[in-house]
Amino acid sequence: MSARLSRPATGFMALALVLAILALDLSRSGAPDLFSAPPAFALGSGAAPEGAHCTGG
């Protein structure tokens, strides 16, 4: 931890971390199927949400 890291450099490292996870995921899971993508808004869609939340077990 002796090297001096500026805020921009650290911010870029955070972006790189997230992009690396995203790239790893896309390489394994593949791109989402656009034909099964949900409508833009859940409200008015007539469907129950399928997403997962922190409050779920």
């Binding site: 650290t10 955070a14 972006l15 790893l24 899971s29 409200l43 129950a48 409050t55 779920g56 077990g57």
Partner: protein, 371 residues
């Protein structure tokens, strides 16, 4: 400066467009909502862990009052929206239990050690805070490991899921929720020192914008704003890539979680807003002419303590059915009893964390502040 700001716009709009093209309009909109959260949280300095510390150490209740205002604004709209949505919008309800209360208490302590909560960790990392970046890595690992033990923690005993609207009806539940927020607000106001009671204009605007974004999250995703699930999912993806067989675990074998694990994180609601939030905070930092100084350099042992506390932060958030966002903000604003219990337990833990902070986090005497 022009090129720097143009590159910021390119990153922000480029990622939103990428998500829209790759995963559809809902995913693109959720990234925009996340970007909005990042812009507001970092740009207007609206936080959760900091104000909880300030009310204790400085008797400054302005930030906490702004949080309560934002939650109340969301509740006023979310309660009738959910009541009339015939199942399209779901609340953030979870059971109160032994593990949940312990998790909230530990989370409160840990968030003072890593100097950020769930959203704060993402904002800090995105805005170039080194402690935040270390905390983000730990949070991802901890929230994943927490999913592996969640069944054991819930088996220690818990109540059925209890909600304000379930017990008192939609309007009665909203009235009770608002009354609870007013009560906490009055206590905060009375605890605060003169001159540190009324939020400044900046925090009023931030509270209103956070409420609008949280409601947009609800209307678009069909569920309230959350953080922890997405980070735990990222950890699970990394573990799976490393050869872990998560299909053998109770949490990841459950239908909804197995689907999230099998599909791209671009289809996961909380992942999308998390990524947007981090990019939004990054954009604010890069937009400024002066990005500001790095946080105070710490001793190597203190950085190790930050990493350990961040693992605990993520783990305890999973035990507690959410962090300051999923449990406190979204839980209370959609009527969950567990949100209120989370508030009390996490606040008690936060007081402990404030006392532990100077013991565990020691500035490096050799380096001073980072440039």
């Amino acid at each position: 400066m022009f090129l720097q700001r143009a590159s910021v716009l390119l990153i922000v709009l480029g990622f939103a467009a990428f998500t829209f093209v790759m995963a559809g309009p809902r995913a693109g909109l959720l990234v925009l909502v996340g970007l909005g959260f990042g812009l507001v949280l970092e740009g207007l300095r609206f936080g959760f862990a900091g104000p909880w510390r300030m009310i204790v150490t400085d008797r400054d209740g302005r930030g906490l009052l702004a949080q309560l205002i934002a939650i109340a604004l969301v509740a006023v709209v979310a309660f009738p929206l959910m009541a009339g949505s015939s199942g399209e919008l779901v609340p953030a309800h979870a059971p109160v239990g032994v593990g949940m209360i312990l998790g909230a208490f530990v989370f409160g302590a840990a968030m003072q050690l890593v100097m950020g909560c769930g959203s704060g960790t993402l904002v800090n990392a995105g805005s170039g805070n080194l402690v935040g970046l270390i905390a983000l890595a730990g949070f991802i690992g901890g929230s994943f490991v927490g999913t592996l033990h969640l069944g054991w923690w819930t088996s220690l005993g818990s109540l059925p899921v209890l909600s304000a609207q379930g017990s008192f009806g939609d309007m009665g539940g909203l009235a009770l929720t608002l009354a609870g927020l007013v009560l906490v607000g009055v206590v905060t106001f009375l605890r605060s020192a003169p001159g540190k009671r009324m939020p400044p204009r900046r925090l009023w605007i931030a509270a209103a914008l956070i409420a609008v974004l949280a409601l947009a999250n609800l209307v678009i995703a069909g569920q309230p704003w959350g953080i922890v699930y997405g980070l735990g999912l990222w950890g699970a993806k990394i573990a799976q890539a490393g050869g872990a067989d998560l299909g053998a675990t109770a949490f990841w074998a459950a239908e909804g979680n197995a689907a999230r694990l099998a599909e791209s994180i671009l289809t996961d609601v909380t992942s999308l807003t998390n990524i947007g939030l981090l990019i939004g905070a990054f954009a604010v930092m890069r937009w400024r002419a002066d990005p500001g100084a790095q946080t105070q350099a710490l001793t190597p042992l203190s950085y190790a303590a930050v990493l350990a506390a961040a693992v605990v932060l993520g783990y305890s958030a999973r035990m507690a059915f959410g962090c300051n966002v999923g449990a406190f903000f979204s839980g209370i604003s959609t009527g969950s009893l567990h949100g209120w219990v989370w508030l009390v337990a996490a606040f008690a833990g936060s007081i402990l964390g404030i006392r532990m902070r100077p013991v565990l986090l020691r500035p490096s005497l050799n380096q001073g502040a980072y440039a």
